[in-house]
């Protein structure tokens, strides 16, 4: 199994409780040691994200979101696709949020061929290093979902939309 060309980026702040969900999920995927899969971490800076996915074909992002759904709910957005609900990602203190990085890349024709964004519904963004129970469960679930995506991408590198 070779996942060359697949980039997975976990996004978040590990000192803000559930905001670390994306980072922890990415670390679990990294532990699977799937050949060729490039797993990286990002603190939410959109400009940095754009550099990460430059010239990449298949990119999967994992971030914590707040939409009002039940904590631990896993949202999936596939791009190109419908407009992202920017309000889900409003907890970035960075000047470029994740949706802005995606929109700017799209405007400049620099989006990866396939970009999937998983949002894990958070219950808290307070200071701390432990996840809430629901989000911890979601992090474990998303690793299985990602594994499926990776297998599909390996079979069909044109994307998992």
């Amino acid at each position: 199994m070779d996942g060359s060309g697949i980039l997975i980026i976990g996004i978040g702040n590990e000192y803000r409780t559930d905001d670390a969900a994306g980072l922890l999920a990415a670390r679990k995927v990294k532990e699977l040691a799937i050949p060729g899969i490039d797993v990286r971490e990002n603190n939410g800076d959109g400009a940095d994200l754009m550099e990460h996915w430059a010239n990449k074909e298949n990119v999967i992002l994992i971030d914590a979101v707040l939409s009002g759904s039940a904590p631990g709910t896993i949202h999936r957005f596939s791009l190109p696709g419908p407009e992202l609900p920017s309000e889900y990602f409003r907890f970035s203190t960075h000047l470029f949020s994740v949706p802005q990085a995606i929109y700017l890349s799209a405007s400049l024709g620099r989006l990866p061929k396939s970009l999937v964004l998983y949002g894990i519904e958070a219950s808290s963004f307070d200071s701390g290093t432990s996840l809430s129970g629901e989000v911890e469960l979601a992090v474990n679930n998303i690793v299985n979902i990602l594994n499926n995506d990776i297998n599909k991408l390996i079979i069909n590198p044109k994307g998992v939309n």
Partner: protein
Amino acid sequence: MQNLSEKKAKQMKNKTIKVDYMARVEGEGALYLKIKNGEVADAKLKIFEPPRFFEAFLRGRHYYEAPDITARICGICPVAYQMSAVHAMEDAFGVKISKPIRELRRLLYCGEWIESHTLHLYMLHAPDFLGYDDVVQMSKDYPDIVKKALRLKKVGNDIMSLIGGREIHPINVKVGGFYKVPTKKDLMKMYDEIKWARDAAIDTARFAASLKFPEFLQDYECVSLVHPDEYPFNEGRIMSNKGIDIAPEQYDFHFREEHAEHSHALHSRIRERDNYLVGPIARYNLNHDKLTPTCKEVAAEVGLGTECYNPFKSIIIRGIETLYSCEEALRIIENYEMPESPSAEVIPIEATGYACTEAPRGMIYHRYRVNEDGLIEDAKIVPPTSQNQKTIENDLKNFVPMYIDLPDKELIWKCEQAVRNYDPCISCATHFLKLNIQRE
């Protein structure tokens, strides 16, 4: 009964306008404007982000932890914070560093200035001048300019990564020098891209100068570091265009911080006068003669002159300073000789150390008192945005009357643009800026 036009006129003179979230600034704060009888009765930059207590965190910590702790104050200008801490500790302990270490520190500053200025100039401020909500909208009409901006910003980030170990909150900086220093070969790998960046920075200054600026001149007291031989990054005397000429250790005698009820960031004032200005305009006005010949040529070509008192033109100076940073980076790389040791020996003593350095958005002051065990007993950090707060408020008081009859939406746009002249980093000062205009 008032007719419709009289009512409308009265509303224009006395009105409340609220904007909940002002984008494209770093941090959380609000702007309050009270307009009474067609005049600005009050202007307050309200910083409501909770205090972050960095000075308190530092107490009881070892002197060598200060660079890594203070770097966390800001994700955009961490170098200026950590280097100010480093310089202050070295001042306290009498540490002398080698020339190559000093040069590498200046190179690290070059990276931060290129990255920070490019981000603000193109991504945050240019959309104001060109009439776009943000850079995403702007990129649809100016894709090549935005692509160039991203590449230019990356050059700055790459310099920070190479020298600092990573681009955000660098980890390679220590009191006395660095943990690890690059070889000349390492630096030369960036040389051609920095040469590209130098040309891109010339285009950047020209692009900035092509924007339309309001005629708005202010009588600022400009405060900046001044060094006899170089455009200031990390060393020099504190000088102003109204007579201040002091060493950093005299800062507290000439400047004071005071609490303003509406802000969690302390307001700075010159003790014997009032508010003052730090940042690109202040630096440029006091250090134009220290710029490189190319910087002076480009500044003259775009009609900047040797001094500038229009805060809106700070965007041009950011372009010139980006050019300076590229040229300085090239000079440093060309002349670099790897130091024998990555750092000087540091022996802590009971002492107080002082330092000022120039963050992209203005001068920073650090003061530390350290005991004989090398533990920090007291710390004082004055960031640029808190120094500029009162000047931002004054600008608004003077600027808004020029546009007081504009519809609210357009007036708010102008006010936001005026605040962004300062590239305010509200997180540093104590994150969103809410704009609230009240007309009575």
